[in-house]
């Protein structure tokens, strides 16, 4: 990319931005885009590329540059929809390309906190609108009419009477000579949306269903070697000695050496690397955590619970505790990266949630300027927070540097599961009170996480959606050697689950229906509305068959609102899930199909972690290694998942995480309805209910 073009692109970003600090946007410029056309191979027609985000080709196709990784949340589709909407281009003419890491050009590219669509909702529509402005002005110039008389539809500019029409593809050369507008083009009114709110199937589907979609693990570059790393059996263990004699007997094994994360085995193909790794004998110094186990961690968490806040005199006081395990992210595609470290530059291919972070980290490691590190962002076979950190990139750089060749480092499923940054284990202790008329009058929640966090904590706002006087929460952590990190909806995987189980218990103590009790106490209208909708869709109050139970729970966060009703039955020792009613209000649902998918996925996560999945610590390491012992929901065990989207206007809320935190409590509450017993521990075991 030439410097001049870079300048022109930046000016455009400044034009479309203004408010969006997220894309590092500034003020307006009227710079002409004279250098933004390209000759095609025949040398006559031009490609119109007015900015860093969009390109119009002479065939009328429009290519949108996606700056954020897509981990399966569908952002490549939804972001392209935003441009297509304002550009008034036929969705089938849209193509997407994934941007490499380049913070100075694009701003922050990371994905986390459910903010991808929120952050770019206005900016990308501005990109579309400004590009449309230039194409319309080009048509006006060609036809010698006033641009304000022209309309656009399906990738064409139309004359006022609709008699004349010219395709965007035929306007590319002319559009490139038009100066940028001096004010921001007006955006469509919500009522005029043709794509937003209607839904599109994913842009990557055709490649996914034919096996062409490229994930990090699919990358192969010339001369590339394959490596796996034998990793520490206990957190904090160190290599004492390596015996690689047997490993070198395996054809294809090239080298075995120590790297910061363990012992790398490099080979000419993956299988040889895996076999070589098995044959390597590493003597480990297990280090200070060798006898750490889950029981000790739970004891430590429980010991950190302090006195609860005083409950009002004369009120009926109830107590409950909840234990949560560590959780692995277990993305379907195990972590991996390809690195090609050269003397004065480095190229990375990987699926990461933090392209800019990866670029900076590698630049630091290799003492290279950031612009000498290229991070190509591949499709992510799942993220859920795991790919917010880039240890796998660091691995690949270390091995490539040592080999002076491009290297792919693959984490096995077991590596991935045993060396995660886990959702912290947690012990939650709650105390609440209701008065004699059944009104809640006290609420004290202490949540102690094994997240390395602060040893102390302060009672603060209770982080609940309900109007309960003096409700308070204390968050504290104990230091444990198990690494922790963000896991889809982060702290809400704990707080909201405990809160929504406990409010049910308060309702019961008050002799009230748990839905009505919540409804009467909810402070936010949108949350009340999703709760009421879920109750209605879930036939709340209708008679239940013998052994059946129904539970309800809700959550607000990330600018969105969700509620769930779960219906299940208990037959002997078996829990059978019948229905999962999921309701969400995320404001403007840019792509309702994507919103529905996020709710279905989050519901699966909620059910999996309510009923099946847990990470156990033993001898300082993780016991579970694969899908056999870290069990996820399977198709046959899934209930019917029914998603209702309450559509709003005025912009989107986040969708990546909101669908998770009310699923597990709805399951727990449904089990109470079915059995009269309460859940005290996740994942739920019927035997451990009280």
């Amino acid at each position: 990319m030439s410097d001049r073009k870079e300048v022109s692109r930046r000016s455009f970003i400044q034009l479309i931005g203004g408010v969006g600090a997220s894309l590092a946007l500034g003020s307006f410029s009227s710079l002409a885009c004279a250098d933004v056309t390209k000759k095609d191979k025949a040398g006559n027609t031009a490609v119109f590329e007015p900015n860093a985000f969009v390109r119009v080709d002479p065939d009328g196709s429009v290519t949108v540059t996606i700056i954020c990784p897509d981990a399966g949340q569908g952002s490549r589709t939804a972001l392209a929809m935003l441009v297509a909407e304002e550009l008034d281009v036929d969705w089938h003419k849209i193509k997407v390309v994934q941007a490499p890491a380049n913070q100075s050009l694009y701003g922050r590219q990371g994905i986390g906190g459910s903010h991808t669509i929120i952050a770019q909702y206005n900016e990308l529509r501005q990109v579309g609108a400004a590009t449309r402005y230039l194409l319309v002005a080009a048509a006006a110039k060609t036809w010698n009419v006033d641009a304000s008389t022209l309309k656009t539809s399906n990738g064409h500019v139309l004359s006022a009477d609709g008699k004349k029409s010219i395709s965007y593809g035929d306007l590319t050369a002319a559009a490139a000579t038009i100066p940028l507008p001096t004010t921001k083009p007006e955006l469509k009114k919500d009522a005029d949306f043709k794509l937003i709110g209607k839904g599109a199937t994913r842009v990557d589907n055709p490649d996914v269903v034919t096996g062409k979609a490229m994930y990090g693990l699919d990358v192969k570059v010339p001369g590339m070697l394959y490596a796996v790393i034998e990793r520490t059996p206990a957190f904090g263990a160190k290599v004492k000695s390596i015996n690689d004699t047997d490993a070198h007997q395996i054809p294809g094994v090239l080298q075995v050496f120590e790297v910061p994360s363990g012992v790398a085995v490099v080979a000419t193909n993956t299988w040889a690397a895996l076999k070589g790794r098995k044959a390597v004998k590493v003597d480990w110094d297990l280090g200070p955590n060798a006898d750490l186990d889950s029981a000790k961690i739970t004891a430590q968490l429980k010991a950190a619970v302090g006195p609860h806040k005083e409950m009002p005199a004369g009120a009926k006081v109830i107590d409950a505790t909840f234990d949560f395990p560590y959780l692995a992210h277990a993305t379907m595609e195990p972590l991996n990266a390809v690195a090609d470290v050269q003397d004065d530059h480095c190229t990375i291919w990987t699926g990461t949630q933090q392209p800019n972070g990866a670029q900076g980290q590698v630049a630091n490691m290799l003492k290279l300027p950031v612009e000498k590190v290229t991070v190509n962002v591949m499709l992510l076979g799942g993220g859920f927070g795991r790919r917010l950190s880039n240890e796998y990139v660091v691995d690949a750089v270390n091995v490539s540097k040592a080999m002076t060749k491009p290297v792919k480092v693959m984490w096995t499923r077991e590596d991935d599961m045993r060396h995660d940054n886990y959702r912290p284990a947690c012990h939650a202790s709650l105390r609440g009170a209701v008065d004699t008329s059944g009104n809640p009058v006290g609420w004290s929640h202490q949540t102690i996480t094994a997240g390395g966090g602060r040893p102390g904590g302060q009672f603060g706002g209770a982080n609940i959606a309900y109007d309960i006087p003096d409700a308070a929460m204390l968050q504290a952590g104990v230091r444990v050697a198990v690494p922790t990190g963000a896991w889809r909806s982060v702290e809400n995987t704990l707080h909201n689950v405990a809160n929504e189980c406990f409010i049910d218990e308060l309702a019961h103590a008050a002799g009230k229906d748990p839905f009505e009790f919540r409804r009467s106490l909810i402070k936010n209208d949108r949350l009340r509305n999703v709760l009421e909708t879920a109750a209605k869709k879930g036939n709340w109050g209708a008679p239940l068959a013998a052994g059946h139970g129904r539970g309800i729970a809700c959550f607000q966060g990330y600018g969105s609102y969700a509620a769930h009703v779960i219906e299940l039955s208990v037959e002997g020792k078996k829990i059978k899930l019948h229905r999962a009613v999921c309701v969400v209000d995320c404001g403007t649902a840019v792509n309702p199909k994507g919103v529905e998918a996020q709710m279905q996925g989050a519901c699966t996560d909620g059910l999996s972690t309510a009923l099946r999945a847990a990470i156990t610590i033993k001898n300082g390491g993780v016991v579970e290694g694969s899908w056999t012992d870290f069990q996820w929901m399977s198709l046959d065990a899934m209930p019917k998942v029914e998603v209702t989207i309450i559509t709003g206007t005025g912009g989107p809320g986040g969708m990546g995480e909101v669908g998770y935190p009310s699923v597990a409590p709805a399951v727990a509450n449904a089990l109470f309805s079915a059995t009269g017993k309460r859940v005290r521990k996740f994942p739920i075991s019927l035997d451990e209910m009280v």
């Binding site: 199937t201 299988w271 076979g381 693959m410």
Partner: protein, 152 residues
């Protein structure tokens, strides 16, 4: 190391490999057919599913030396142009999220529909119970399999 002749997606290939190399790595590392995915390597997820003479098989669990004359079909060879009823139904029902498990799901569906074009819910349960989708696309997998079956 030995030389193995394989028929993959209708073409003959010969590869030099260790006899115990799983078909998955032959496909991915040697034939550059990366549509079949590595999800566990122990036969526990289904991401690597291919067809062997039309029947579902986990390519991480079949060694190159055990294939013999069996014809291998991967997601890349399911149809010439993405026109298999399952591929079309998958797009229409917008099944993929991250997409990583989807080749395995589709290949399992292809084997099922081959045997039984109109599977019941219980038969779908049976086939797919083993196939992990970490993103939770199960509802749409079920819908798409049924739709593709109906069109067959």
């Amino acid at each position: 190391m030995a030389l193995y002749k394989l028929n993959v997606n209708g073409s003959d290939h010969s590869v030099e490999a260790l006899p115990d190399m799983p078909l998955l790595w032959v496909l991915r590392d040697m034939l550059d057919l990366t549509g079949s995915k590595f999800g566990c390597g122990i036969g526990a997820c289904g991401a690597c599913t291919v067809l062997l003479d039309g029947a579902e098989a986990q390519s991480c669990q079949v060694t190159v030396s055990a294939i013999g004359k069996k014809k291998v079909t991967t997601i890349e060879g399911l149809s010439k142009d993405g026109s298999h009823p399952l591929q079309k139904a998958w797009i229409e029902h917008d099944v993929p999220q991250c997409g990583y498990c989807q080749a395995g799901q589709i290949m399992a569906g292809a084997a099922l529909l081959h045997k039984n074009p109109h599977p019941t819910d219980a038969e779908i349960d049976d086939t797919f119970a083993f196939h992990v989708c970490r993103c939770g696309t199960y509802q749409r997998v079920r819908d798409a399999v049924k739709a593709a079956g109906a069109k067959k």
